[in-house]
Amino acid sequence: MKGHLLLPVVGLVVLVVCVIFYFNQSTNKNNSRDEVSSLIFETPDFYNNKLINENTLGEFYVVNFFASWCKPCLLEHPLLMEMKKKGVKIIGINFRDDEENFKEWINEHGNPFEYILRDDGTIAYEMGLIGVPETFFIINKMTQKKIQGPLFYEDVEKYL
């Protein structure tokens, strides 16, 4: 390479490497949001008023945020019912909802959840929720996959 080009080209390459390295590092900083909120295990189930038994849950489970006022939640509801039939354990978190409306909604559409927790927004905040519905696939208390918006068949195909 000609001498007059060497210094600027080397400078540019070093800069690009630094930028890639830096952005890789800064995206890795946010992995703490992958941990499931401990509040899930400190909030009693709505129906039996008992805390979640972590031993019966197993390593893999699903956490689904829903609400009776949420129309897209109805879209994914049949898939959740199907997942329950196949033995997938789902923790339902009822996000900022009226108690009567929520009970009516469950009675009308069915209960696909192993446990249902009512949340005033604190669990949602800790889990980094943006809106409902939102679903977290958890293995060993760590989020492996997060789906914002309703679930589609392709998202849960391997569990059905």
């Binding site: 080009l5 400078g11 949001r33 604190t122 809106g131």
Partner: protein, 123 residues
């Protein structure tokens, strides 16, 4: 007797004004802070302007933490930990590379042009 009564009244009045000024300052500080937090559902708006469930909940959670004595700085750090840096409209000042890179590029261009001129002068 009358004198001490009026002093008492004055003290009570002063306390009421003081407390309301403090709480008003707190409300002001919070609403200023809300303006720096991005609504992730309706990007471009802050949670102060937004009426989405996400923004309402975030405001409530921040208000709760603030009332329990947690400082805005600590709340901000927690928010960034949960939602990532994109939650804040104010980028952290430690992005040396972000601010420094254009300067480095300028220096590289300068060196390149200088070398090019030297090369053509030699030819």
């Amino acid at each position: 007797m009358k004198m001490s009564k009026s002093i008492c009244k004055l003290i009570i009045l002063f306390l009421i004004i003081h407390i309301s000024v403090i709480s008003f300052a707190g409300v002001n500080e919070l609403s200023d802070y809300y303006k720096t937090i991005r609504c992730l559902v309706c990007e471009g708006q802050s949670i102060q302007e937004s009426d989405t469930e996400f923004a309402i909940n975030l405001k409530e959670q921040i208000q709760k933490k603030y009332s329990s004595g947690i400082s805005i700085e600590e709340i901000n750090q927690e928010l960034i930990k949960i939602y990532g840096e994109e939650i804040s409209f104010k980028p952290p000042k430690n992005h040396i590379l972000l601010w420094g890179a254009p300067l480095v590029v300028l220096i590289i261009i300068f060196i390149f042009i200088r070398n090019k001129i030297k090369f053509f002068k030699r030819v």
